[in-house]
Each structure stands twice: as C-alpha cells, then as structure tokens.
C-alpha cells in the first residue's frame, strides 16, 4: 500500500520559482480537465494547484522526481485515493468529458469501469488467465459465455498476449513471466472497455525486452484509448508519449508536446531534470 504512494522528501517547496503561467500545449480535444487541484494526505499537502488538460486518444506521460505527486495525481483520476484514509482533494476539480468525477452524484464504480488502471507491480489475481480477464465482465453482470469468450480473446489480442497464452488460458496467471503478467493486467483492464487507461510505472519491474513489448503495446493502444502513464524513465516517456507533463514537488512545472519538452523545455527545472542534473 505504502509502496505505491509517493511522498515528497521535503514539505517546503522553496526551490520552486513558480512560473507565472505554465506553458500549455494546444490540445484539440481534452478528455480530462484538471483544474487548480490541491490534494493532501491529512495535513500534508502533496499537490498544489495543478492545471492540466489531457488530450483524448493520445499518450500523456507524467514525469518528475520521486515524490513529486505524479502517482497521486494519477490515482485521483479514477478516485483510487478514496481507499486511503485521510487522503482528500482539498481544492479544485477533475472533469472527465465535462463531468466532475468527485461530484456527489457520480458513481465511483462506474467511473473506475470507464477509467482503467494498470499498476506498478503487476497484480494478477490468483486465478486462471481466462478468469483474470473475465473478472471485470463477470462483476459487471455479464454471464453469457460466448460474450465473455469473445471479449477475453479480443482483450488478450489487444494486449499482444493472445499468441503466447491461447493454449493455456486455464492455468494460473501466476505462472506467467513478469512481462506477461503485466500485459495480462493490461488485458484485464481492457476487457471492461474503458475509455481511459491509467498506467502507474507499468514497466518499472520489467526487463528491457518485456519493457519494449509493453511500450509497443502502449503505442498501439492510443488508437482507441486515452492513456496516461507515470514513468521514471525519461527514454520511455520520449519513446511512447505524445505529451509530457513535468512535476516537481507537487506542482506542474511544464506541460507540452513530448518532442518540445525533450528538445527545448521552457523551464530551467525541466531542462535540469531531463538532462539528469537532479532527480
């Protein structure tokens, strides 16, 4: 639990010279709008006034040093932070397709179905591969076998796992390799047909070959899904994202086209981070 949370090492963000205006990329159609978001664990504020529009059908990467609040922000997008005691949004709003996800009428179960998530540590259920993928469908009340069969195959194909596991769908998901497990988790997330897929450092526990496969997958998935990915790996952000947001000490420092950020960042801090002078 604690492992997935990132806390800033220091609470006083004195080094930050907050820019007058965060540079923003021009975005045709914003899927997710984050507006002046403050977030705190108890008395400890983690996010400060984040403004961000995340484009639809594209990959957006969150980068920044450990504890900068990027995972926290990601977990706000499907209200996963609800599970943590005393964690709450203190100000601001998040809108998905114009709807405030924290409004009282919004059903969190419905939200999470629309906003899928892949975790840092692959967490397949101790069930068969088939049951793992079918889980989300079954809990949504779908019982028709043919429908589930079809959806399982489609999801596994989408996650580029079908060829590897089609002969052993009914063995435990724990028997797969780390990379396969992570792709199984992606397949599981895709099976419920979300609109947005959140990925929290999906490759941090994988070897380079498995990482390459997952990255390739991410590039393919953006055709249909809005993807938000948190990563520590600058190259990864460069390789597979369209837009990149750089966070530092709970503040959004810069958000722009990935190419722009990596070649010509507007902020000194971004440049220092990307060139590896700190982080």
């Amino acid at each position: 639990m604690v492992a997935t949370l990132e806390m800033p090492e220091t609470t006083s963000p004195t080094i930050v010279n907050q820019p007058e205006q965060v540079p923003k990329a021009e975005i045709e159609r914003a899927m997710i709008e984050i507006e002046q978001l403050d977030f705190a664990y108890g008395a400890h504020q983690v996010l400060h006034g984040v403004n961000l529009n995340i484009p639809a059908r594209a990959v957006t990467a969150f980068i920044g040093p450990s504890g900068c609040g990027k995972t926290t922000l990601l977990r706000c997008l499907n209200r996963m932070n609800d599970l943590i005691d005393s964690a709450r949004i203190t100000q601001g709003a998040i809108r998905i397709e114009g709807v405030d996800i924290n409004a009282p009428g919004v059903d969190v179960v419905d939200l999470r179905r629309r906003v899928g998530m892949v975790f840092q540590k692959s967490n397949p259920f101790p069930k068969s591969i088939y049951d793992n993928v079918a889980y989300g469908l079954r809990i949504a009340g779908i019982t028709k076998r043919s429908l589930i069969d079809e959806a399982v195959e489609k999801s596994l194909r989408s996650a580029a796992l079908w060829e590897e596991v089609k002969d052993r769908l009914h063995v435990s998901g724990y028997g797969l390799s780390g990379g396969q497990q992570q792709r199984l988790c992606i397949a599981r997330a895709l099976a419920v047909e979300p609109e947005i897929v959140l990925m929290d450092e999906p490759c941090s526990a994988l070897d380079p070959i498995a990482t390459a496969k997952v990255e390739e997958l991410i590039r393919q998935l953006k055709e249909q899904y809005t993807i938000v990915i948190v990563t520590h790996n600058m190259q990864q952000a460069g390789r597979c994202s369209d837009h990149t947001a750089f966070f530092y000490l709970g503040r959004l420092i810069e958000f722009d086209q990935t190419a722009k950020i990596f070649s010509n960042p507007a902020q000194r801090q971004t440049e220092e981070y990307i060139t590896g002078r700190f982080g």
């Binding site: 996963m80 179960v109 999470r112 975790f119 967490n123 809990i139």
Partner: protein, 341 residues
C-alpha cells in the same frame, strides 16, 4: 597463537555441552508429552477397545453413565451397572447382598459426547458468524481512526482473559440476569464470546495478509467493494480463517471452566433431544465430556473400579480434541507452503 587454539578448544567443548543441555531440555518436553499421551492412550484404550470384534467398546461410547455396584456373591466378585443390578436383584429375589456403589463408573459417556458436540457447534456458529463479520468490517471497511485502534487493542487484550472470568460473566449475565438458567444457550453464548476475540484477531490477520494489489486491481476494474471482498479477498483469506477457527474449535471443546456453571450438568437422564417442546431444547443443561472428566476425577475416589471410566473418558476426549488440533496444524502447514504472495 597457541593460547588462542587452546581457548578455542575449550570454548568448543563448552559449546557442545550447552548445546546438549538445550537439546536435552527440548527432548524432555517431548518426552513428557509423549508420556502423557501414552499413559492415557494405553490405559484408556483398555476401556475403549476390546479384544473381540467389533474391537470397539460400543456400550462405553453409546450408553449413558450409570452407577456401579460391587459385591461378593457366591464367592465371586460381581461388578454390575445400575440396570444390570436391578435385573440381577429381580432374578435373585430374596438374596440380600451388601453392595458398594460407585457413582458414574458403569455404562458409558454417550450423552457427554453429544452434549460437547452440541456446545461446540452452537458456540462456533455464533463466534464464527460474529467474528468473521467483525473482522471483515475492521479490515475492509473501517477507517483507521483512533476509535478503531482502541477497539483492536481491547479485542487483543480480551483474548488473554482467563476462561473462568468468561464463565463468571456468563453465569452472572446469561444464567442469572437473563434467567436462562443452566442451559445449552447460556453455554453457547459464554463459549462463543470466549473465543470471539481470538477469531476476530486471527481472521483479521488472514484478511490483511491478502495483498492490497488484489483489492486495488479489482476495484480499478469497476468492482464494487463487496464484489471485491467476496471474489478477491475472502477466497484467499479463507484458508487462514478456517485454520484459526479449527483451533478455536479445539479450544471451545477443551474448556471446562466456562461451562461448569453455565451449561453442564453432572448427570442427566434424558438425551438432549428428549424434550417436551422445541424451545426446551435450548434451555436445557447438557452433560459435557470435559465436565464429566472433572466430575469423575474429583468427586469419586481413585480405585480399580473408577479407573475404567476415568481413563476411558479422558482418552476419548483427548483423542477428539487432538484430532481437531492436528487437522488445524496440518492444514496450516499445507497452506503455508502453498500460498505465498
């Protein structure tokens, strides 16, 4: 250099001696336990098993306890149970014998076995129902505030409260205050409450051992809280919960102090199902094996006539409780090796 070598030889010898002492202590414990098992096993099996088919002393297991009559007749020593003695007397009308009677020492222990089974089933149903539900609430739903922490500490501490205190409480509240008298239901509540803290603690531990990732993974797929718990938490926590509850069964079955004055009768002629109306079933006292052992080992003398029932009951009881405990230990060892996250 030589000094060091010499010293190391001496320290090696001390090491060996001390290791042997430790080994001796360990095996001494095992030997004591083995001696107890053997003593009760051997002397008890003389009562419980027979040398002729069916090799099991069925009357001992299926009859109620009776008084034993011992007397000399015609140069022979007669040992007859209450019923046999009456039959004998009617057959030998006019014969006057001086019979010594020894209570409880004839017949069997069937009603005690039944009573213990009833007590265990009822109290475990109660304790598991409330205990597992409470554990689910504490581990899955409750927010980790000060109040919940306090509740946890209280439960943990109550697990160590002596069983006689629970008996005292059960007697005061259920038997007297609620007016249930000495009854099955008072015993259920007393025993159930006694194991409740242990069951809550153990169940919560099993629930917490299920990785958080499984919960998050399920919730992120749009499962509701209850769906997550039912499909993705409980199934994996259940082996642990079951193991601990089997241990709870062993404890409930083995306790005497809490039922002494809440549920157990020393002697009762009717079987529990021989009641006038349905509700009487719950409000009747029962005979119970542990209480029977207490009665036969403290209220009647130790001699050749009483040894049969004393060792017989102790053997049957020990065997049953040990069987339950063994099941739980085996289950735990097995699940330990299989489930590792």
């Amino acid at each position: 250099m030589i000094a060091i070598a010499f010293k190391s030889r001496r320290t090696r010898r001390t090491e060996r001696v001390i290791f042997w002492l430790l080994r001796l202590a360990t095996y001494f414990i095992l030997a004591c336990a083995t001696y107890i098992f053997l003593d009760i096993g051997i002397k008890g099996s003389r009562t419980v098993f027979t040398s002729t088919p069916p090799f099991i002393n069925l009357p001992f297991l299926t009859e109620p306890p009776q008084t034993l009559y011992v007397f000399d007749y015609d140069g022979k020593k007669m040992t007859l149970s209450d019923r046999q003695f009456r039959e004998w007397k009617s057959a030998h009308a006019g014969v006057d014998v001086e019979a010594t009677s020894v209570a409880y020492s004839a017949g069997g222990i069937w009603p005690c076995i039944v009573g213990t089974a009833l007590l265990v089933i009822g109290s475990m149903a109660l304790a598991l129902g409330i205990g597992i539900s409470s554990a689910i609430y504490l581990s899955e739903y409750s927010r980790n505030g000060r109040w919940i922490r306090l509740v946890r500490i209280a439960i943990l501490n109550l697990a160590g409260v002596p069983s006689i205190v629970f008996g005292l409480f059960g007697f005061g509240l259920f038997v007297i205050f609620f007016g249930w008298n000495v009854s099955l239901i008072a015993g259920w509540f007393t025993l159930g409450l006694m194991v409740l803290p242990a069951i809550i603690t153990a169940s919560e531990e099993s629930l917490r051992a299920v990785p958080q990732g499984l919960r998050e993974g399920s919730l992120a797929l749009g499962a509701s809280k209850w769906q997550t718990i039912r499909k993705n938490v409980l199934p994996y926590a259940l082996p642990g919960i079951l193991t601990s509850s089997i241990l709870g069964i062993a404890r409930v079955a083995g306790e005497t102090a809490p039922i002494m004055f809440t549920a157990a009768y020393a002697m009762k002629d009717e079987m529990p199902w021989q009641v006038a109306k349905f509700t009487d079933f719950f409000f009747q006292g029962v005979m119970a094996l542990p209480y029977h052992i207490y009665v036969v080992s403290s209220k009647i003398p130790q001699n050749e006539y009483t040894e049969r029932v004393q060792y017989g009951s102790a053997f049957v009881f020990l065997f049953l409780v040990m069987l339950i405990a063994l099941t739980s230990i085996v289950l735990r060892e097995r699940s330990r090796s299989r489930l590792s996250w």
